[in-house]
Subunit: 404 residues, 2 copies
Amino acid sequence: MTSLSVFRDIPPAQKLEGSLLKIYRHDDYPSKMFLAYKVCMTEQGYPWISLVVRRTRLQISQDPSLNYEYLPRMGMKSFIQAALELLFGKHSQAIAEKRVGGVHTVGDSGAFQLGAQFLRMWRKNLKTVCIVSCQKEQYGLIFQDMGFTVYEYCIWNPKELCSDPTLFFDLMEHIPADSILVIGNIIDCRFTQTQWTNLMSIIKSKHIFPFFDVPCQGLSTGDLEEDTRLLQYFVLLGFEFFCSQSLSKSFGIYDEGVGILVVAALSNQDLLCVLSQLMNNVQALWGNPPATGARIITSILCNPALLVEWKQSIKSVVENVMLIKEKVKEKLRLLGTPGSWNHITEQSGTHGYLGLNYQQVEFLIKKKHIYVPKNSRINFTCINSRNIDYITQSIHEAVVITEG
Amino acid sequence: MTSLSVFRDIPPAQKLEGSLLKIYRHDDYPSKMFLAYKVCMTEQGYPWISLVVRRTRLQISQDPSLNYEYLPRMGMKSFIQAALELLFGKHSQAIAEKRVGGVHTVGDSGAFQLGAQFLRMWRKNLKTVCIVSCQKEQYGLIFQDMGFTVYEYCIWNPKELCSDPTLFFDLMEHIPADSILVIGNIIDCRFTQTQWTNLMSIIKSKHIFPFFDVPCQGLSTGDLEEDTRLLQYFVLLGFEFFCSQSLSKSFGIYDEGVGILVVAALSNQDLLCVLSQLMNNVQALWGNPPATGARIITSILCNPALLVEWKQSIKSVVENVMLIKEKVKEKLRLLGTPGSWNHITEQSGTHGYLGLNYQQVEFLIKKKHIYVPKNSRINFTCINSRNIDYITQSIHEAVVITEG
């Protein structure tokens, strides 16, 4: 056939992310290091998996009574129930009142895709979305592609080296009314009680629609309840919101992409209408969600013994992260690196800001082959006993050289 | 909070499908029967699963070397390669020329969603979609929601009781130029060589973009190659097209929703551009596809012994379907049911038309509690030795009563 190709003028897409990883992969230096993996790493340098997951997977695959029929479009009912109880607490009043519910979603982006489609269709007054800078690439583009105006915000104050409540307040002052506010981990923002009250009243008066992101419950503080306290506060006060609840990271089954779009409504009647509309979108998006990940997670959450074991494994991860951070700080102190490094241990979670400037990050990448994102936000689980000396020594040099 | 609910005026969605199943579930009659399940059923009335799948799943879950890191956005590379070889043949020239490729997708709808998004974005001249009636609900709405005009077509001739090539030609004559043509199973349409040649030339001259649907390779004829001969013909002639290749049904892992959006281009360069654009859509749709289903399927396709076993299990299913159809036909003959029932055995695959009219279907549902879709297209694997007599006797009565 000699006719013109249908695909003749399709340009190659611009790479959205992963460029740092790409440069890292092309680096021939034998001791190169990448400190920005999304997943939690073990001391041995492998992706972490909760051990109870392996056992549960094995058990499930030996169960002759299981059939592998399509899940309902809504997803696995027992999984949704267990996940909601994890998020809101077993004795949540909102669960008892049946005004919170969820749709089983796919991958890390599925819940945002589904929620954004719904809001575009049914809440046309919501035209703008505010999202934390580091999530812009991953989720901001979903909203942008649908015609929302997307603003980035950042609560990390690089001068003060802390998550800064005033930056969040600045945002709330300037955010247009009828905006969607994507709220990720703001646990490190230490709001006063007055600030909280003000925050709630701004959200209410400006008709801000909160869209929470809970990507790895438990891995911030090691305490499952503590990690979602903010969400529970919102539901208690009767706010309506969406929440992308991703469970893969908390169990170490990154490749299953198990999530839920959680809907908090004011009544069961409202909730059922929203869920039924979401079903139409699900039908078009993927049809029926995949089961394995959800089955593993449900088995663990619904079995008291396995649950204890999983909670313990989450706690160990977080304790280990804290230990790594303490060690990094101590080593920098012993090296006499200029500056206070308390901000390292003051941040919760696996990922945190080193608090380096662009020049220092460049030094680490180009001179030391240590790959750190521009904003210096690294995954602390990538640091282990084999590389910690080289990393801290390099940070020290970066700071000393650029200080001069 | 007393402010107005964000969700105050969301209406409940109209149920798109499943209404027959819903009525069936609400029927209290103890011997009710549902003959329209999507999945292949065993003689015992359970969803079929290839036995080699259970063993492979177990083996995978025992593999200590596996980590559960995110799959690349494109999906599992070895899975895509194995699936393409299954579709086009191991020694396909198009594979060797690297002008066919694929993106690992989610669920039954994922590949259509992804492909439709791409076509809407990059091929704005394609404004209409023609799709087989029985797929309208499942995939037609995906296109419709994106603003395409969707036409239904049907190649089943209810008078002649056959898949009718002239109906397909009528469609091709009347289809607007620059249409997307969703091509499902037209294996029962017995085109002559001249008809084929004409068909190809119409597709070419009218710039029709074929979007194949291969939902269950192997389960039409029992022969994997035979089932995709049409596709191979298109690729050999240098057509460009998309194909939704779903693998869940052929392995009996319906709940994993494993699929691929296959892209056939004219050159590797074109292909890479298309795939790179698709990656952006994937990022927004789900991020990274789930792995378990793909891992099971890849393990089977890449292991010669397991492959033989799987092929044999597919063949057994199809032989069993043929046997059921023969028995139904024979029983109707013995009952002296008016009409020829050859059309039952002339259709390939698990699903086929009984060739009943609306009145007869109504009789089966209302009087006999046998749930059959309006168009009388049933899943023959729902018929087994325990229910065949009741079903054939009921069909007999339906035909006799309405003949009168």
